[in-house]
Structure formats: structure tokens, C-alpha cells
Symmetry: C2
Subunit: 345 residues, 2 copies
């Protein structure tokens, strides 16, 4: 039996049908390349120059509401707009078509100094409630067939403002990453009559090798096919197609596990841990998405320390994603970290 | 007729079958986020601490040859090794298999201070000749079915040593990005009996909208479906499946166009321009790859200046790649830049 903990191998992603390359022996490699800056900031609760703080003026000249709870607004520099005339273009091998949509910014808290791991569970619960309202309202529109909720956290992840916030990009077409998951979730559902992710979760709970936190209704784990060093997936034990069908107790529990995961992240290198997170759930195109099982993924770039990240470059761009530490090693490290935030000790 | 220069739209990638989102109106967005450091280094021709300079000792204790021409060696911290026992693993929904291969480092020049744009065409020609030898020798091995030649240039692209060098990762399986291209090239070939890229090139040459440089045997253009802001593709006018069938005149011409493109890159923001480049060509699995048409792509991260890059994060990770400047805008900018390196004026 070959030891995959010590030999390069490929793992299959059941959600996308793609393979990733794992090279566990490569962690010994010395690093002489670029290091990220460590930005340890003491942020005030209110910053008069922040365009997301309550009451402040934004770039477009709009004035923010004096919000006291999670609050959303239409992005002033939206990549997607909803007044785009529909058109298709084809000329020889060139093919394009209009895309329309709505981009929103979601402020998690009026308090400029916070981040999800240091917010109260009740306030994270309110963020989820806002995500639910947005998903419902945007998804209702006839020309919105997919709603992508996500957060870019930290300068390393292209986030241009430390005020706690995420984004929503809702659009007419189904984006590529979601289309892959649609296909694999549906195929499994048609073949087996059960949710692919419910089955997967059963297996992970039995093995207990990649689990990080388990709450009453949710599980956080490093997926077997993880690409990013400390990639994490949060999924509900019960098959919910979208975040809309969560009970109040489940929603609060979801808030708890988001807090638990992001606390472990911050504790890993004792910094505010950068990542992109996103919720994948059933499209809002009115089709029957019985097969869907919503989940939230975290893609954090840091690899060895607060300053050394994994670069997804050359080989990864031209060939296939590659990782050095195995999912099991990453899960073990995260699992063993303290449950309270390092700044609260 | 909708003006795609001013409205968000999706473009189709004929090589991968994927779509990318283009938001041309978004260039007006102010940038308050992370800026890259500008590293203007005067490098010596020989650095006693560089583990790639001739005669120096490397991390593994090996001593470099006193090479005077492009030189390659097996990576001391290879992600792929060739002594991996073959095994497949399947348990429920978990699926993995061994992967074996060879990783090599290709030093472009003994001179530590150089980069491709400031190397002589004759010396770039020698780099291509070495790529040919490597592709031939590695590809001959029965357990090597794909040879990926690439370069990560600059600290921003995870390059840990400024000595001019690239890499080769050769392996048993066909990587994902190549598999996509195999599929689309073959389908077009079967349906039309001609090379997809030869047809595409004809169209681009007629339109002259995305061409940057044309030499006797090669064309450099911004592909219609470009993802990275200043992405460029170099392709031979004649359909070569691999770099092996280039005549000596064609190879020299290939060297010329690599130099021309990378000079324009450096001239864009007057810095040594970071990118990952890679050559995609027919797999070495012994199958009939009549449909292949080799090409070299450059994926550079910089967007607005020497310090502001495009972040492929949140939406791009969870949904689909998105860009702000159109391929036509990028091509025009690159086309109009000087043909001589900014440091040589
Ligand atoms: O050149 P290195 O140090 O081996 O490594 C670099 O290129 C590799 C191949 O693209 C990537 O996997 C690494 O993340 C990157 O840092
Ligand atoms: O938050 P911003 O400034 O709109 O932009 C950030 O997130 C977007 C969505 O992931 C990316 O397209 C941008 O590259 C990134 O800088």
C-alpha cells in the first residue's frame, strides 16, 4: 500500500470533476522568495476616512446610512449592471454576449474595528439574515439566475478597505464554477437519489480525519480535494439547497461555526487571517435544484507563516492546482488550535 | 448594436470552452487597496549567494556546472518524483492515485543580471533549443505523457530567485488545462479538418484589432478571451504541433518575438514586468495529436501601474474570471509601446 502522506498523488474533486496534485514531501523546501507584509493595525471603531463607516460619504458622492445593523447597498463601481441591453455577437471564432446583473456591498457591522472572528455570534447571525434577504430578493428577479455571496478579507486578497464587509454579485448567467457543481450534484442525485454532499459528509464524520469543528447542525472540514493550504468547507448536516430554509436555530448555529473557523484561522499565525470565502447554493433560475446542498468555502492563501503564501502561478495556471501540505495535515493543525481568539487571552 | 466596449459581457474561450466576464466600464474605479513594492534592482552578473549562478552550491549541497550556455538540472525540491509506486485509492467518495514525474530548472543564462527582454536574440534561441531537447528527451520516456515548460518571473509571481530561469514539470497524467485544450482542438479538427488556432489566427490577422507584433513566422496577440489584463499569446503562423518541428529560421524568429513581447511588457510600466508564461503543445503520450497547434501564453498580474495588480479572488474563485480592460484596449496599449527596452535609450 502506497503511503499518500509521503508520495505525490492526484486527488479527485467530486464537486467539480477536477484533479489536484498533492506533493507532501515538498514542505521541506526552503523559501527565499517574496514575503507578505504583516499589517498589525489597531483600528478605531469609527474612521472618518472610511467609505463604509456609517454616515460617511462614498466615492460616488453617496452618503451611507447611519446603520446600526448589517447593511447593504449597490456597489458604486459595479462590474455588473442591470441596464445592459441583451445581445449576442458571433463572427467566425469570436463569440460574446451581454451580461447583466447587480453588485452589492454588504457591511457586516457599523464597527470599523471588527472582523467576523471577533464579532458576537448574534451579530454574525444578523449578517446571515441579511444574506438570506439579499439572496431571496435578488434571486426573485426574472433576469437574475445566480447570486454569489462572497468576502475578500485582507489586503493580500485584494480587499481595498479593512471595514468588515463582503460582496454579492448577482447575474443573468450561471457562472462557470457553479455550473461544474450543478453537473456533479445533479448526476449523483439522479444516480443515487441522495445528496452527494450528505453522503460525503457521512464518510468524513465516520473517518474523523479532516474534520475541524462540529456543531449541532454544521460541520467544518478540510475537503479531501482542497487546493489552498488551509482551505475549509462549512456544510449543514441536513441537506439545505440554499440558506433560505435554515431554521432560526440552524442559522444561529451557522453563525457559531463561522466564528469558530475564523477564530482558528486568526490563531494559526496570530494575525487577522486573509481569505476569500463564498457560499455556493442552488441557482435562482427557477429550475428544480433538488440536488443542491449549500456550502461555504474559505480559500486562504497563507502557507507557512503570516508572511509566506502559496503562489498559484506557472504550473498551477498552465497545468493543474498543486499543494504541498495534505488536507489531513492542514485539518489536524486547525483542529488543534485554541477555540478562543488569540487577542482575548 | 450593443457596444461591448462600454457594456459588461461574457466572451467565449475557444480553447477551453470557458467564459470570462468583461466589465469595461469598471476601469474608472479608484484603487485604495494593496500596492506591490517596486523592486528596482541593479543585479551583478554574478552573485556568490545565488544558488543558480554557475559554480555555486545549491540548497541540496549540489554544485552547479560552470555553464556558459542555457543549462538545466533536476529540481532539488521537486513536486513530482519518478520513483513513486503506482497506486489507485478509492473509498466511498474519496478518490486518489499516485502521480509521478520529473521537475527541472532551466537557467536561461549564466549571467545573473539578465532577463529575457534584455538577452540577445541568439541567446534566447539557445534557450528554445534547450526547451526542445528537454521536451524531446523527457517526452520519450514511457511514463511521461505531458511536458509543461513555464517561467514564473518576478517576486509577485512567486519566483524566489531573480536569476533568469524557468521550469519544466513533466508527468504521467495529462493536466487539466491541457485536457481542456485537447478536447476543443480535437473537436474542431475532426469537424473541420484544419487547426482551430490556424483558423483563429487568420481571423485575427484580418481584423488587426488584437495583434501586438507580427514577425515572419509568428504572431503575438491578446486573445479575444484574455483573462489577465495584459495577457498575450504567441503562436506560429504554420501549424506546429510542438516546438520540435520548428526550422532553425523559425526558432530564431520565435526568439525574436519573445524578446519583442517581453520588451513591450517592461516598457509598459518601466519595470521588469512580472508574469507566468507557459508553452502548451501536444502531449507526449504517443497518441495522434494532429490537431495540436503549439502556443506560448503570458499571464501577467499587473493592471494599472507597476504597483497595482488585478486580484483574482472572491468572485473569480467562486464564479468566473473577470476583467476590466478589454482585450482590444490592452492590445492597443501594448502595440503602441516602443520596440526598444526602456533602459537602452
Ligand atoms: O519556483 P518554485 O519555488 O519551485 O515555486 C513556484 O512555482 C511553482 C510552480 O508554478 C509553484 O507551485 C509555487 O507555488 C511557486 O512558489
Ligand atoms: O472589492 P473590489 O475592490 O470591488 O474588488 C476586489 O474583488 C473583486 C471581486 O472578487 C475582484 O474582481 C477585484 O479584482 C478585487 O480587487
Amino acid at each position: 500500500m502506497v503511503d499518500f502522506n509521503d508520495n505525490s498523488h492526484r486527488r479527485y474533486n467530486i464537486l467539480t470533476g477536477e484533479w489536484i496534485l498533492v506533493s507532501p514531501h515538498r514542505t521541506k523546501r526552503p523559501w527565499q522568495g517574496k514575503e507578505e507584509d504583516i499589517v498589525v493595525e489597531e483600528r478605531p471603531s469609527y474612521d472618518p476616512n472610511c467609505y463604509l463607516c456609517p454616515g460617511n460619504e462614498r466615492a460616488g458622492g453617496h452618503i451611507n446610512e447611519n446603520y446600526t445593523e448589517p447593511w447593504s447597498f449597490v456597489n458604486d463601481f459595479a462590474a455588473l449592471k442591470n441596464d445592459v441591453p441583451q445581445a449576442k455577437f458571433k463572427s467566425g471564432l469570436l463569440k460574446a454576449e451581454s451580461e447583466s446583473g447587480i453588485c452589492k456591498v454588504v457591511c457586516f457591522s457599523p464597527d470599523h474595528s471588527l472582523t467576523l472572528p471577533v464579532m458576537d455570534v448574534e451579530n454574525i447571525d444578523k449578517v446571515i439574515a441579511l444574506w438570506q434577504r439579499e439572496y431571496r430578493e435578488l434571486g426573485k428577479k426574472s433576469d437574475i439566475n445566480h447570486v454569489q455571496i462572497f468576502e475578500n478579507k485582507g489586503a493580500t486578497m485584494g480587499c481595498s478597505n479593512p471595514h468588515p464587509h463582503g460582496q454579492i454579485w448577482a447575474q443573468r448567467t450561471i457562472p462557470q464554477e457553479v455550473a461544474k457543481k450543478n453537473k456533479h450534484l445533479r448526476e449523483y442525485w439522479n444516480d443515487n437519489g441522495v445528496s452527494l454532499l450528505a453522503e460525503y459528509l457521512k464518510e468524513e464524520l465516520a473517518l474523523q480525519e479532516r474534520i475541524i469543528v462540529e456543531t449541532e447542525y454544521f460541520v467544518a472540514l478540510v475537503p479531501y480535494w482542497a487546493v489552498w493550504p488551509y482551505e475549509v468547507m462549512i456544510l449543514p448536516k441536513k441537506q439545505h439547497r440554499t440558506i433560505l430554509t435554515l431554521s432560526e436555530a440552524e442559522r444561529l448555529d451557522y453563525a457559531k461555526i463561522i466564528k469558530a473557523v475564523t477564530i482558528k484561522y486568526d490563531n494559526l499565525f496570530k494575525i487577522s487571517f486573509p481569505y476569500s470565502s463564498g457560499i455556493h447554493q442552488a441557482p435562482t433560475d427557477g429550475q428544480d435544484w433538488d440536488c443542491w446542498h449549500f456550502h461555504m468555502s474559505f480559500y486562504p492563501p497563507l502557507l507557512r507563516s503570516a508572511t509566506v503564501k502559496k503562489f498559484m502561478v506557472g504550473y498551477e495556471m498552465f497545468a493543474t492546482p498543486q499543494r504541498d501540505i495534505t488536507a489531513e495535515m492542514a485539518a489536524k493543525t486547525l483542529r488543534n488550535l485554541a477555540d478562543t481568539h488569540y487577542t482575548k487571552n
